[in-house]
């Protein structure tokens, strides 16, 4: 399996998070009535996409922060090799280079948005999470991404390598931010496309 240079991987994840964050900052200017509008009765509004991501962030960001605070700082081990399960999750979440998500996935019930929350609150929480993620990624430049492990949300006893957790959390975010962007395009609010940086560009 491919192995990545740690700093290259983290720089790539920082860049993707930066793009997502910039997008969310622009979305602050969209009125709630539009941001919470569903393109069809079946598909999520941009508001719901971000609520969904927020609910994952509430689990993963504190989990990552807690393992990072306990992990040994090291300058060595500059390579990261994805684990098989972690890599599977990342690939599953990943968006193709053309930005069109072909495979429809059902989100776990626990993480599906249930109520309408005012968009400024949803966007603000999402922005806070992205800023936190940037800080955690920077801290992670000093640890071994193979040895540090994080339990996953659907089964906390399954622990994955930190490098995998960052990769699939961010791939998952890209997926739903693109979905939010499409919802806004389909409701006629936004025209431009979000630039996607694929993890593949590392090879």
């Amino acid at each position: 399996m491919t192995s990545y240079n740690r700093d290259t991987l983290i720089e790539n994840l920082l860049d993707q998070t930066e793009i997502i964050l910039k997008k969310a900052i622009e979305w602050q200017l969209i009125p709630h009535s539009t941001f919470a509008l569903r393109p069809t009765s079946e598909s999520w509004s941009a508001n719901e996409c971000l609520q969904h991501l927020n609910s994952y962030g509430r689990f993963y960001l504190p989990a990552i922060e807690s393992v990072l605070s306990r992990s040994e700082k090291t300058e060595s081990s500059t390579q990261f090799s994805p684990g098989w399960l972690g890599n599977y999750f990342t690939k599953l979440m990943m968006t193709p280079a053309d930005g069109i998500v072909s495979k429809k996935m059902n989100s776990p019930k626990d993480h599906a948005p249930k109520t309408i929350i005012e968009s400024p609150m949803v966007i603000s929480e999402f922005i806070d999470q992205q800023e936190k993620l940037l800080a955690l990624l920077s801290t992670a430049k000093k640890v071994d991404l193979n040895k540090v492990k994080v339990g996953i949300s659907i089964a906390p006893f399954i622990k994955l390598k930190l490098g995998d957790v960052f990769s699939f959390v961010i791939a998952h975010q890209v997926r739903h931010v693109l979905q939010a962007q499409r919802a806004l395009v389909n409701t006629g609010v936004v025209e431009e496309k979000l630039k996607v940086i694929s993890l593949m560009s590392l090879d």
Partner: protein, 196 residues
């Protein structure tokens, strides 16, 4: 932005405050180097003494105070093209009470306190330039004090957005709310109701 373009912006900014002679300007222009920082990089932490003077060419930065309860109060924003850094710590060479950080990817020119001091010792006219720059900073700080004490939330909001409308698209609104001393919910309510 190329170094030469940044220096040209610096010249325009400096000369609008106080013209320098060719010799003074050439010496001043030669003490700068380029720098950049990613989003949310702390450039000066509380307790450190500010050794650097920045001239911002790209991005938004802020200085903030951290309360005993870990609450952040945004004191000032800086944008292109102007000086930046913790001004009072730089001028007095005493420890900073504030954190100074980037809020977006930023580019700047930077120079050191000691190099600025050398020019101050050498040229009386350069000292006049620094004094004038400081005076305008003081003027701005006092005007802001008046706004904070007498303006309604809506007036503060309108004033900020008339002065710097671009920030709405560039930075998270919590920083703007913190700068105005209003809560985030009030800020988003104003955003949806007030036409600027």
């Amino acid at each position: 932005m190329q170094l030469i373009d940044s220096i040209q912006k610096l010249k325009t900014f400096v000369f609008s405050l106080h013209p320098l002679s060719d010799v003074e300007w050439n010496d001043f222009a030669s003490i700068w180097q380029q720098g950049e920082a990613k989003r949310k990089t702390i450039l000066t932490a509380k307790g450190e003494t500010e050794k650097t003077l920045y001239f911002i060419t790209e991005g938004v930065q802020r200085a903030y105070y951290l309360t005993a309860e870990d609450k952040e109060a945004t004191i000032v924003f800086t944008y292109p093209f102007s000086f930046s850094g913790v001004a009072d710590s730089f001028l007095t060479q005493t420890p900073s009470l504030y954190f100074f950080e980037t809020l977006t990817q930023s580019s700047f020119l930077k120079t050191s306190h000691s190099k600025v001091m050398e020019l101050l010792d050498q040229y009386p006219n350069f000292e006049r330039f620094i004094s004038r720059a400081t005076a305008f900073t003081l003027k701005g700080a006092l005007e802001r004090q008046v706004e904070l004490q007498t303006f309604s939330a809506e007036q503060k909001f309108t004033t900020l957005l008339t002065r710097s409308p671009q920030v709405l698209r560039l930075i998270p609104h919590k920083y703007l709310a913190s700068y105005l001393g209003i809560d985030a919910a009030t800020f988003s309510k104003l955003l949806s109701t007030v036409r600027v």
